[in-house]
């Protein structure tokens, strides 16, 4: 007998469903919820999914495991009453302004209030609601619209492993906020925007650039060009109900020209260029002994993540700019001459599935003479909105052709939009194959995918991760020596760019999978499939540098800088020059200090004095090494030693420091 639950009088087999909510939904009842997401832990806070379970009374379906013989009723007087009251209470505390909200007509609170028929709010508007907008470079938080479902909090900590947002305060003062009430730009947010993608209301949104772009379009002096990222076409096809990503893109091209864009290009071209450059870089590294694995650098959220949390890996990141920024640099360099316009009149727009691309475009290194390479980044959603504002219906428009030269791509360039796409494009390049060589191991929505390719008699081991929770786990395995790769692709959003925060809602697993499959179909219909075969890429490389690798390099490559919270600044304890001494730094950051590091430092200095070796060491107090788990920490040269408690200090001096004080120093000290 299969376990069965009676739902509203109908027996429904449990079929492995983890909780009543999923089981009930599988039976065709659209049980409402704000805080249940299958990818996140069960939270049970919104109370919308209450059902009556015989013998147990009212239970939230999300938190109740199905049991054989359970009798559940989903629509009773009590469940309806509670849902409606919860909604009315939420609405009373929600700064409505629906018509002007970014999520108008796409808001789950609005939709449920309508569906459940809440027709009045009988409570007074709260006077004490936090209403200050937090407008960041890529994300905007509007606390007055937050319904405190905690989806963003769990997304950021559970899926992405970052934890930029959390709850603060109690009672009616509870709010979701970055630490210490800071703004989103002041904390370690990597702008992946998955919080905005999962937010049921307009409390977290992606910052809009629509007005700026319209302004540029309406400015007769400006020539406005636009690039469209690979993943965008799949979402457009879904949104407009057009079969095929390339077809949808073609119709959108026509819409964009009608709106007033002067040239429409494809970021997939720049992706081909990236593949070629990254492939070459990889082969160079392989030939010169590393450092490997090389990590991809297309995802701006990953780059920021690495700069913040994995600064020691920065040397392993590919120096290639992302396709967006390669395009931006090329457009700035060549388009004014090609189009016969003044450089300052060129306005470069990109359409991205992503919120972090807005941050990337604003990075100071991607600017020439104070002008950013990419002037404005629109998300897929913003593009759709602009098309709507112009009253256009892409489905009814004829398909248009992209402009050359940056409109021509191979199928490999389109793959960039799905997790595994960058890896597959590079693998194709390395394999040297001419036809459509497929690497199915790196496709799909699994958090970690692996593939191997034989190249010059040696294997190239490729790892692909998406989502920072998965990335962190993989990095830990690599560091622990449990896994070994030559090339690792990292994308911030689960499933890659198809699931980016700039894509239309909902960005659930089904939608991500469908979009990725659409991109593989786009690859199939292209005449070429290997980036190396893109003739415009070769032309372009010839044009920017020819044999001058340096010129190409400065245009297409970049560098990274650590963004640690504390930069390990050194405090000098004495003024003597530290020349020829062994530098010994003791961390006196909060954690180490609390575990006695100050005494450790004193004891080490005392031990040196005792041994007459004061001149051999340069003792310093420093701030955090970010190795707090092992505090107190002492750095000798470049090596950090943990667990040097005051009690261990003498032994540490004897075993670690004494051998470093060579005879010369000792002798000098004793003279």
């Amino acid at each position: 007998m299969t376990p069965t639950v009676i739902i509203d009088g109908t027996p429904v087999p449990v079929n492995g469903h983890r909780n009543l909510l999923e089981l009930i939904r599988s039976s065709g009842v659209e049980l409402p919820t704000f805080c249940y997401c299958s990818d996140l832990s069960v939270y049970g806070a919104c109370r919308m999914c209450v059902v009556e379970v015989e013998g147990r009374g009212l239970q939230t379906a999300c938190s109740t495991p199905p049991e054989d013989g359970m009798v559940v009723r989903t629509t009773t007087e009590a469940t309806q009453r509670i849902r409606k009251m919860a909604l009315e209470l939420l609405l009373a505390n929600h700064q409505g302004q629906c018509q002007t909200c970014d999520r108008n007509m796409r808001c789950r609170l609005q939709a449920l209030a309508d569906r459940l028929g809440v027709r009045r709010v009988r409570f007074e508007a709260p006077a004490d609601r936090e209403t200050q907008l937090d407008e960041g470079v890529a994300l905007v938080r509007d606390p007055a619209k937050c319904i405190l479902c905690g989806d963003c909090v769990r997304m950021c900590s559970e899926v992405q492993g970052i934890g930029v947002l959390d709850f603060a305060g109690r009672g009616s003062n509870v709010r979701v906020t970055p630490a210490f009430g800071r703004s989103i730009d002041e904390v370690e947010c990597v702008y992946c925007g998955q919080c905005a993608a999962i937010c049921p209301t307009g409390a977290i949104t992606v910052r809009s650039a629509i007005d700026e772009v319209w302004k540029a379009i309406h400015d007769p002096a400006r020539t406005v060009v636009v690039q469209i990222a690979p993943a965008v076409r799949a979402a457009l096809a879904q949104h407009y109900g057009i079969a095929g990503g390339e077809h949808a893109l073609g119709k959108t091209v026509t819409a964009l020209r009608r709106i007033g864009f002067d040239r429409v290009f494809d970021t997939s071209f720049a992706a081909d260029l990236t593949t070629v450059e990254e492939g070459a870089e990889f082969l160079r590294r392989r030939a010169s002994g590393g450092p490997l694995p090389m990590f991809t650098s297309c995802c701006p959220a990953w780059v920021k993540y690495a700069e913040q949390f994995q600064p020691d890996l920065l040397g392993q990141l590919s120096t290639c700019r992302s396709p967006q920024q390669m395009f931006g640099a090329l457009a700035r360099k060549h388009l004014p001459a090609d189009m016969g316009i003044l450089p300052e009149d060129l306005y470069v727009v990109s359409v991205m599935p992503c919120s972090a691309k807005k941050f990337e475009a604003a990075r100071p290194e991607f600017a020439q003479d104070g002008r950013p390479d990419v002037d404005a980044v629109l998300t897929t959603q913003e593009l759709i909105r602009m098309i709507d504002q112009a009253g256009l219906k892409p489905a009814e428009l004829p398909a248009g052709a992209l402009d050359l030269p940056f409109g021509f791509k191979t199928g490999a360039g389109v793959l960039f939009g799905a997790s595994g796409g960058v890896a597959e494009a590079v693998l194709r390049l390395l394999s040297g194959g001419r036809g459509r060589v497929e690497f199915r191991e790196v496709r799909g929505l699994n958090g970690l995918k692996e593939a191997e390719l034989e190249q010059d008699g040696r294997p190239v081991r490729v790892g692909v991760v998406s989502g920072f929770g998965n990335a962190r786990a993989l990095l830990e395995e690599i560091r622990a020596g449990l896994k070994s790769f030559d090339l690792v692709e990292v994308m911030a959003c689960p499933g890659g760019c198809v699931g980016g925060a700039g894509q239309p809602w909902p960005a659930d697993t089904g939608m991500r999978r469908e979009r990725a499959e659409m991109l593989y179909d786009c690859d199939a219909v292209q005449p070429l499939h290997n980036a190396a075969d893109n003739p415009f890429v070769s032309d372009c490389l010839e044009r920017i540098g020819g044999s001058d690798r340096h010129a190409a390099h400065s245009l297409l490559h970049t560098g990274y800088r650590p963004r640690r919270r504390i930069d390990g600044q050194v405090i000098e304890l004495d003024e003597k020059p530290p020349a020829a001494r062994v530098p010994v730094s003791v961390c006196i950051g909060t954690n180490c200090y609390l575990r006695g590091s100050y005494d450790t430092l004193k004891r080490l200095m005392e031990a040196a004095r005792r041994e007459g070796l004061e001149e051999a060491f340069d003792f310093q107090a420093t701030f955090c090494f970010e190795n707090c788990k092992a505090s107190p920490n002492v750095r000798v040269g470049e090596e950090i030693h943990g667990g040097v408690t005051p009690e261990e200090a003498d032994e540490f001096f004897r075993s670690r420091l004494l051998p470093l004080a060579d005879g010369r120093s000792c002798a000098a000290a004793r003279e």
């Binding site: 069960v42 939270y43 049970g44 806070a45 919104c46 109370r47 209450v50 009212l58 939230t60 999300c62 938190s63 109740t64 495991p65 009590a78 009453r81 509670i82 009251m85 919860a86 209470l89 939420l90 009373a92 505390n93 009988r122 409570f123 007074e124 709260p126 319904i147 405190l148 905690g150 959390d166 709850f167 305060g169 109690r170 009672g171 009616s172 003062n173 509870v174």
Partner: protein, 633 residues
């Protein structure tokens, strides 16, 4: 006292029994003992100075002092030390004298001379320090004669105020740790669970869930690690049962935890105690250290194969952390927010392992049950709720303090016999029971038995045991508003109904008490209250509307009086007061006009004054300052 009180660890039950005999002898026949209450209440009232003064006086009079009970001392020697709370905090600082059993109240340092002279040296009571009945003037020499104590039963509090909590040997003298020894050497874990189940012990923290069943569920959960948590996050305003037990007899709780650990297969325990209880935390630390030194905690307890360690986790004082899942979350270092059950802690609790969460008082009952048997425990109280319950009796009663009564005692006995009736000759109106999660009981409930099921049947609950008695000057809407303000600011804010519902209930209650309420508001209040009760995530949310629902149930007229007639029947809500000056009585002294903060009173010197009702903010200052009774409210 140093912690090395023991000399040697106890490596067998025989060692424990031997120590018990020595300690008991020392306690009972060795010397005169002056036990000064060292509970929070008496300490705040200066009991530390009383103890210092006693020691100084004893030294000055050349009376030999006993530094250590078990060491040899001359005849006539005296031991003076801190004991735990005796419950009658109102008349503190309390000093108890043994073996004479005198009970001194309101002792000041300057009374030390009299105590030493008359009691220590001559064995007589100091008359003026004995408790006297205000009404009759009758004085009572010993504790048990005092009416406040006559109706009480002593199980959990029996040793509080008798033994010194910082001396483990005094606890051992009073049968301490003998129950643990019996478990380890004479009972299987199943036996222990069965005994507690048969005793019918129910959770004293409020819910009344059968303790034995909790233990059995945890015992049956298979896991490599299990935990015992003692919930000492006592958060109800005015409740201090757990604090007094921890301060007065910490070892009873430790022993209860160890027995629970043995019963369910746990080797580690946490006491989650609020940091606002520094004295309780300190006593616990000393107790744990002494128990570990004695090998009554730690590895291979009493030479058995059972290990049990106890840690203290200090909480930051959030009310919601008394909810077991929030408490667990807090111990794990996360924000104290409840999570949905299932899974229950017995299946997946602390660090994901099966966990028993029991309240302080519950655990303190356990050693007694093991020692005396389930049958004995069932002989106290009522069949559905055996045993005793400790209540914090406060409010408008003559005697306030901590009381322990058999479950099923009537409200009348508690209020009138133990509490001595209503203060200032006013009329009894209501008892708020169970703190912010509880409800109000009225005159019709005076014969109601105080036990889990009877209270639940009338919309109240035992809660953690707060009993606030109120007289007829209390406005019930205001009472509901007061408790709602508490729960609203202590709501963790996780679930919609509790967070937003308590806020809106408070808003409506404030509207009613400030004279702006309508009949619709009363209906909406009830609607929200029922939704919050039925739909909230955790126990705090589900019970938060109780003060509203129970006052609506028994005092709906008062709500209606506010919103329909524009009157606060108790005269408590300031917004409904109208102040005027009786021209017959007013002599025009101008004092009220001078004191009025808003200048609402005018009049010529030596002429009757008047109050402008438009300007008046109804603060009542004029009423307070008028010496002629001319201001009429």
């Amino acid at each position: 006292m140093t912690t090395a009180v023991l000399g040697a660890a106890l490596s067998s039950p025989a060692d424990l029994i031997a120590l018990k005999k020595r300690a008991l002898q020392a306690l009972e026949s060795g010397c005169t003992r002056l036990v000064v209450c060292g509970g929070t209440g008496c300490t705040s009232n200066g009991s530390r100075q009383v103890l210092d003064a006693l020691n100084a006086e004893l030294a000055a009079r050349g009376v030999p002092l006993v530094a250590d009970l078990l060491e040899e001392h001359p005849d006539g020697a005296v031991r003076a030390g801190f004991g735990g709370c005796s419950g009658f905090c109102e008349v503190g600082p309390i000093v108890r004298v043994f073996p004479a059993n005198f009970f001194y109240v309101r002792v000041r340092p300057q009374d030390a001379a009299a105590i030493v002279e008359r009691t220590v040296l001559n064995g007589e009571p100091v008359e003026h320090l004995l408790f006297s009945d205000e009404a009759t003037g009758e004085r009572f020499a010993t504790r048990d004669e005092i009416p406040f104590y006559r109706e009480q039963a002593g199980v959990v509090l029996a040793d509080c105020g008798v033994i010194e909590p910082e001396d483990i040997r005094q606890y051992i003298a009073h049968e301490g740790y003998r129950a643990l020894a019996s478990c380890l050497f004479g009972m299987t874990p199943e036996d222990v669970v069965r005994e507690v189940t048969d005793a019918g012990l129910r959770g004293r923290g409020g819910g009344g869930f059968p303790t034995g069943r909790k233990w059995e569920l945890t015992r049956r959960s298979e896991a490599s690690k299990k935990y015992i948590i003692c919930n000492a996050d006592e958060g109800d305003p005015g409740a201090f049962m757990d604090r007094s037990i921890l301060e007065g007899n910490p070892h009873a709780v430790l022993e209860g935890m160890a027995i629970a650990g043995y019963a369910v297969g746990a080797d580690e325990g946490y006491i989650y105690c609020r940091a606002e209880y520094p004295l309780a935390v300190q006593r616990l630390r000393v107790a744990i250290r002494q128990a570990e030194e004695a090998r009554l905690l730690g590895e291979r307890i009493l030479g058995s194969s059972f290990d049990f360690r106890i840690h203290i986790k200090e909480g930051a004082g959030a009310f919601v952390c008394g909810e077991e899942t929030a408490l667990i979350s807090s111990i794990e270092g996360r924000r104290g927010m409840p999570s949905p059950k299932p899974p229950f802690p017995a299946q997946s609790g602390l660090f994901g392992m099966p966990t028993v969460v029991n309240n302080v008082e519950t655990l303190a009952n356990v050693p007694r049950i093991i020692l005396n048997g389930a049958g004995w425990f069932r002989s106290v109280g009522v069949p559905s709720s055996p045993g005793t319950k400790v209540f914090a009796l406060t409010g408008d009663v003559v005697n306030t303090g901590l009381i322990e009564v058999p479950m099923g005692a009537t409200l009348k006995d508690v209020v009138f016999k133990i509490g001595g009736g209503i203060r200032n000759g006013r009329k009894f109106k209501t008892v708020q029971i169970g703190g912010p999660s509880g409800g109000c009981l009225t005159e019709e409930h005076l014969d109601l038995a105080l036990d889990y099921d009877s209270l639940r049947s009338v919309g109240a609950m035992v809660g953690s045991g707060g009993l606030v008695v109120m007289d007829d000057s209390t406005c019930m809407v205001e009472v509901a508003r007061f408790f709602m303000q508490f729960t609203q600011s202590e709501s963790c804010g996780k679930c919609v109904l509790c967070r937003e519902g308590t806020r809106r209930m408070l808003e409506i209650l404030e509207k009613i008490t400030s004279g702006r309420g309508t009949v619709d508001d009363v209906g909406l209040l009830e609607e929200v209250a029922i939704a919050v009760r039925d739909g909230s995530l955790c126990g705090l949310g589900k019970t938060a509307p109780n003060p509203v629902l129970s006052t609506l149930r028994y005092f709906r007229d008062e709500y209606l009086a506010h919103v329909v007639d524009g009157v606060c029947p108790a005269g408590a809500c300031q917004a409904f007061r109208h102040y005027s000056i009786d021209p017959e009585k007013c002599k025009g002294c101008t004092l009220c006009a001078k004191k009025c903060p808003v200048g609402a009173i005018s009049g010529e010197l030596k002429q009757p004054h008047t109050i402008d009702p438009q300007t008046c903010v109804r603060c009542g200052v004029c009423l307070d300052v008028c010496r002629l009774g001319a201001v009429v409210a």
